[in-house]
Symmetry: D2
Subunit: 244 residues, 4 copies
């Protein structure tokens, strides 16, 4: 098998940690592992720590038009638009994705009035995945909400698009921690998890494969999924359900 | 744009209603709308009502080897294997997918020890979606769990792969009901929902598009996602995280 | 502080494992820890492994009236009715409670047409909790669905009513396992978790405290919550919302 | 039956809308219906719209000690501490509670290091409920997460502690809207829903009943649930699980 060429792809990581820079983010440590693969594969990568920016709450494209003094979302959305791949990173709090991750989803959703040149939602043709850290529980639950939202607004989800690390139940170190309760750990927490390493790798490559395929196809055909066409009365082979 | 040819595809609908045949299933009524599109597009379709079969509980491929007298799962799994597209239909109970849908997921998951000829999980290259009915609430929540499980075991999820119908809060008719509390409805419930009709259509076509693309590609390249290769020590461009 | 007397209380544990007896259930091992406290406190306890019984799928009180040959639910419901406390135990599969747990919720919900002698839902005055085992992730998510359903149908939920054990991410031993991948473990998995032991203890005592209090009060006053009264037109101090 | 006296109780509503005042909040309109009952019953009520305050992100009691310029949480927490009852109101976005609701949960959780005078978590003895608005779907899912978090940090949940209003699937008016797509509605959306009115009433009274009972009992006995005692080695009738 030939090694694929991923060098035309662009991947954006958005870290939804609650900690402002320069505080250490365990989620950033996890993201770095995937980013390294991407960079080794010559993918163009970018990373944003959302909490470092003034992102307004709300569900409009630009909240400065709705009473907020500041809103950096429009400039961040430009990066989202440019990226073939979006990876949302989040910590877990009480078994849920962070409030920053929920805010990101609200703002992505706020753009769903936009269309691409085929009359489809603007995220069609892009792919998404998620990377999650916590100290004990909630990875799959956080992933459910994030991946659901992504596909619902138009992203495609490749196989095994969620990964991360959590420790066993109860308080404990988070990903990459080198000490816990004053004691040095033999290895940074999670770094030696074959399960986590495999899942990061598979997610990263599956994002690259599906993004490559969809880019080659110039996204999805708009036969059967153009909002613009549907609103003009086109229904393709849909038939109104009839009472039988 | 040329009309695509979907006639090589095979789609399986599994209805996870709690009602045995011949009782009327609202979920079956909903599924029929998508099936009609598929049939008009010359796709080979099949539909199973899971509750009509003796499906054991458990997480092994064949539960007759684990103390159950009967288990039709192995024969149903053959249909899953053959299908390019799997659509899981479910009713909602107390805001959740049905216990039959959860059982289906458990049994699909039970096959995750299997590999395809590339050393990948057996569901790689297949696509999945979900169709949901209820009388008031829970469509997105049920979809979150179902689509999460599908991508996690190896399915790909195209854009907007969830659809269905629910009425407003409180008791009320379910999809396709022609009367409610003794009164005839003007239209069968949900049949005139432009939102539901559009979403069924978009889901159906997006499943077809992504299944076509993946079939043309013969599934995913196994560069970066083969369990077999990972277990043999191959890591592609993954690098062990290092403490910095 | 005087030691409370819990000897008048009755607690039912329903284990929603997928494994039929006599197979070892990790969830049963966990339940035993709470049961021991209850028994030491002279509470009357009972335990059911749901999968050992023929429980039909469906949302009617007795499914033999709806086409099922067999349905042991009516006899199990008698035990639910008698118990002041219901604890639902479940394993986790793909981050979700088991299909048996979902089936249990469907059947409990199916009784919601019943009223107690005050015109309230039949579960008013009873308390509920949940105990969960898995090998890596999903305890809180499973608890969310179970506790939500319980309060929604009329149970009261005391503080910290969820507990359990999960290991770190990836394949691993489940609660009480004494070996893993052919190697003997120093301690049965989870037995030495102070976090799990504390949470089992707190849940158990909080269930006992709230059940005691509610039993002394003979359940809830029906001022403001009687279905029967509401349907007769009583609204207490509710006022119809008005447009202002 | 005598009419109970609720006049000693204190209830705090926190509205987690994304809209800053003076924008109209549908969730506020819903909250008002419960508030009216409370006021008619002489309960002391207070209401906060969280988005009108500068609430930092993070999981520490006061984020100004962790790099944030401003953080009004400490003063809001004083109101939480004073209230016997906390009701969290939230809109739904993409089937989830709002990012403000998630932020509220993160900050409530951040106080979980605090103890009351009995050595219990600080929320013991308080009760919680939730009120939810959306235009189509997600009430139960949002309630699951909110009520789970509340009981997990120490609140008690009475029967049927979730209520709200959602319309049928697809775009539509939200609670209290008087027009939709330029057309006047016959009634403000949801005001005539007997289901919603009943559920608001039952939730409100059940919160009052359980808060009354727990106040009379001066909260929970700390036999079996004191963090302080557990950490000192007290285990009551808990016994370490033993391998059998």
């Amino acid at each position: 098998m030939n090694k694929p060429d991923f060098s035309q792809l662009n991947c954006l990581y958005i870290n939804c940690t609650l900690k402002k820079s320069p505080a250490k983010s365990h989620t950033a440590t996890l993201i770095q592992v995937s980013k390294n693969i991407m960079m080794n594969e010559k993918v163009t990568v970018d990373e944003i720590r959302l909490v470092d920016h003034e992102i307004a709450s709300g569900v409009y494209p630009d909240m400065t038009e709705h009473g907020w003094r500041e809103d950096e979302w429009p400039s961040i959305f430009k990066k989202v638009e440019k990226a073939d791949i979006l990876v949302i990173g989040t910590p877990i709090w009480l078994g849920e994705k962070s409030s920053m991750a929920q805010k990101l989803i609200e703002r992505l959703y706020a753009m769903s009035g936009q269309r691409n040149e085929k009359g489809q939602y603007v995220y069609y043709g892009k792919v998404a995945g998620t990377m999650i850290t916590g100290n004990e529980d909630g990875l799959k639950h956080a992933a459910m909400g994030i991946l659901y939202a992504m596909q619902h607004i138009g992203y495609s989800i490749p196989p095994q698009a969620d990964c991360g690390w959590i420790g066993k139940i109860g308080p404990g170190p988070s990903y990459g921690d080198v000490e816990w309760q004053g004691k040095q750990l033999k290895n940074p927490a999670g770094f030696d998890s074959d399960f986590t390493n495999k899942n990061i790798t598979f997610m990263t490559y599956n994002l690259l494969h599906l993004a490559t395929i969809l880019k080659q196809q110039k996204g999805y055909s708009n036969y059967g999924n153009s909002i613009k066409d549907w609103q003009s009365g086109e229904q393709w082979n849909f038939e109104n359900p009839e009472y039988r």
